[in-house]
């Protein structure tokens, strides 16, 4: 029973990571750096909460979240591709933009700079163990599905082949007629939609939007993307592992065996170790962050 509760809680924590990391993988494999994931998530959480609130339906909320995350990612792609702006600068700016804009519109819509009123959520209400809540929440299944769909897209479709070509060797891809820019726009939009849904999961699960509620989860998803070496399944495993560490920390909270700050460090420390190549170097897509000429 304890193990089941542990697994259930791990999965609950992992869902937003699964969404955002799947988005991170598709974006980075196409050559666009995924630094804006945090912003797409927060934007998705906000748009999700707002559309759920005004429509009274959490499903409309999901559509709003996907649209919000997707729109932000398209803004990023437009400035990165059409205007050739530096992707790292843009990623940082998008996150800053969303942090400020969500607080601004929170105040505009609800006269509060901290949180929204209660919004309709998905699935069944909280129960004792959380198991029923878990299987009753369709977003959990959608999150797992997202990983599989991205993997299928990337490895089993012509579009996926083009994405990988755009990320590894855009000039060669252009010369054989691959519409590199269009492929990157689509990959960016997909990443925004997925990260937005990850954000919506947070807002709908808590039945409200609160300022900065993503609290760095987009960066954990980016860490999972890299630690999973830009492969959807390995990135998903990284998400589950990071979530399990968080769950363990929550369960151990009373006992103070490991200080929570050290558990917080795990995803980031592992990512640095992976990048430094101590146990098998993580190698990024060759054209990551570069414009196709």
């Amino acid at each position: 029973m304890i193990i089941l509760v542990f697994l259930a809680q791990t999965l609950r924590i992992a869902v937003p990571y699964l969404f955002a990391a799947s988005g991170g993988v598709i974006s980075e494999r196409s050559g666009l750096i995924g630094l804006g994931l945090e912003g797409y998530m927060l934007g998705g959480a906000f748009c999700g909460a707002i559309s759920s609130y005004y429509s009274g339906s959490a499903w409309i909320g999901l559509v709003g979240a996907a649209a919000g995350g997707g729109a932000l990612a398209l803004l990023y792609a437009l400035t990165a591709i059409r205007f050739r702006a530096d992707q790292v600068v843009l990623g940082v700016a998008i996150n800053l933009f969303v942090t400020g804009a969500t607080r601004f519109f929170l105040k505009l819509a609800f006269h509060s700079s901290a949180n929204s009123p209660r919004v309709p959520g998905l699935g069944v209400e909280q129960s004792g163990t959380g198991l029923v809540t878990l299987v009753g929440n369709p977003l959990i299944w959608l999150g797992i599905l997202a990983v599989a769909v991205i993997a299928w897209l990337l490895y089993r479709t012509a579009f996926g082949l083009r994405v990988r070509a755009a990320g590894e060797h855009p000039t060669a891809a252009l010369s054989v007629g691959v519409p590199v820019h269009r492929v990157r726009y689509i990959a960016a939009a997909l990443s925004g939609v997925l990260a937005g849904l990850g954000g919506a999961y947070l807002a709908l699960d808590q039945h409200q939007f609160s300022a900065d509620m993503t609290a760095g989860r987009g960066f954990i998803a980016l860490a999972a993307t890299i630690f999973g070496r830009w492969d959807p399944f390995r990135a998903a495993l990284a998400c589950l592992f990071f979530a399990a560490a968080e769950t363990l920390q929550i369960q151990l909270q009373g006992s103070q065996v490991i200080p929570s700050q050290f558990v917080e460090m795990i995803p980031y420390a592992l990512t640095i170790i992976a990048l430094a190549g101590v146990v098998g170097r993580a190698v990024a897509p060759a054209a990551l962050g570069r414009v196709a000429e």
Binding site: F83, A85, V88, A93, L96, R103, I226, M265, R281
Partner: protein
């Protein structure tokens, strides 16, 4: 020279115009009059001595973090870790300060504090530099990840060992605290501005001298423009990388003195409050030139303090949004402006900026 200046300044002007339009739209959407809001912003910042003091205090930290990001970018490296380097600099300075015997004169302790703060930042900045030089780990990711790691570690140390009960800050340091401007001119009373401001100006001048008047600085810029060509010309690219990151971290670390030594006289958890990230905006808008950085720091500090001044009328987050708009607009218009200027100047004219 004139063409270079045009290429550097035009994108900033374009960006400020775009930001003004977006700002007006946001203020109007909140049902307020843009003119009145801007007047309020001016009155709360440059319009009185206290407001000016607050602006100068914020300018000080932003100058250090902006210089940090700029020197990295000059070497072709993106340091996103200024936030944790700033914190580490302030932390180490405070640790040293807590061990110094009370009552020493500032003149004696200042060099000690300078070294401590610079060292704290340099270690946090240097790690990604070494990882990049020796192992090829991308500095953007490692500096982001180190932000989380270092801030969590400092939080642990403060909470577990150093805090005064009921707070998140250390005991006050009793040696070598620097005077505030209000000690010299009473009009600044209550504002946080202090003489670390002069250190920030000095840091800007020294950074300019290093970048444009020394061999090391020339090598650094050469690596930033074209690492392959620099290596062919006999420059040790890996060495430049880790030196640039350590220097960048040291500059950010020195910024910690503004809070620790000049303002509060203790270390407080997350005192940086995002100044490291705004440093990125400062460097971009300052076009990675030390003097541009100082000017940009003044602008962003005014917006930040101005946000507090107008918060009763419109949410202060308007200026967070505008900061982001300015960054995006500068980043997006730099290549565009360059292309247009090159076309009008004829092919081949002007050096790459």
């Amino acid at each position: 020279m004139k063409a270079q200046l045009e290429e550097a300044v035009l994108p900033v002007i374009v960006a400020l115009l775009i930001a003004a339009v977006v700002g007006d739209a946001l203020i109007l959407s909140f049902g307020q009059n843009p003119g009145a809001v801007y007047r309020l912003l001016f009155e709360g910042t440059w319009g009185n001595v206290y407001g000016l003091g607050q602006v100068l205090y914020k300018t000080t930290t932003l100058t250090f973090t902006g210089l940090a990001v700029a020197i990295g970018l000059r070497a072709g490296l993106f340091n996103i870790g200024a936030e944790s380097q700033l914190a580490a600099g302030g932390f180490v300075a405070a640790l040293v300060g807590l061990t110094l015997p009370p009552g020493l004169p500032s003149l004696l302790t200042l060099p000690v504090y300078l070294v401590a703060a610079a060292a704290g930042g340099a270690v946090v900045g240097g790690i990604p530099g070494v990882l990049k030089a020796k192992l090829g780990a991308h500095e953007v990711i490692t500096t982001i990840m180190l932000n989380f790691i270092v801030l969590a570690l400092l939080n642990y140390l403060v909470v577990r060992y150093l805090k005064v009960e009921g707070t998140l800050h250390t005991q006050p340091i009793h040696s070598g605290a620097l005077p505030r401007l209000s000690d010299m001119a009473s009009g600044f009373r209550g504002s946080a501005a202090n003489v670390v401001l002069l250190l920030a100006v000095a840091a800007g001048v020294v950074t300019w001298w290093y970048l444009f008047r020394t061999k090391r600085g020339f090598e650094l810029r050469a690596v930033g423009l074209q690492p392959g060509a620099a290596e062919y010309g006999g420059v040790d690219v890996g060495g430049v990388w880790w030196r640039a990151m350590a220097l960048s971290g040291a500059l950010a670390g020195l910024g910690g003195l503004n809070f620790v030594l000049g303002y509060k006289h203790y270390y407080e958890d997350s005192f940086g409050a995002g100044a490291g990230f705004i440093g990125i905006a400062v460097a971009i808008v300052g076009r990675n030139h030390p003097f541009g950085v100082m000017l940009a720091a003044l602008v962003f500090a005014t917006l930040s303090q101005g946000g507090l001044a107008v918060n009763a009328v419109v949410p202060k987050q308007i200026f967070d949004v505008l900061q982001a708009v300015v960054i995006i607009a500068v980043a997006a218009s730099v290549p565009e402006v360059r292309r247009v200027l090159r076309r009008t100047a004829g092919a081949g004219a002007g050096a790459p900026a």
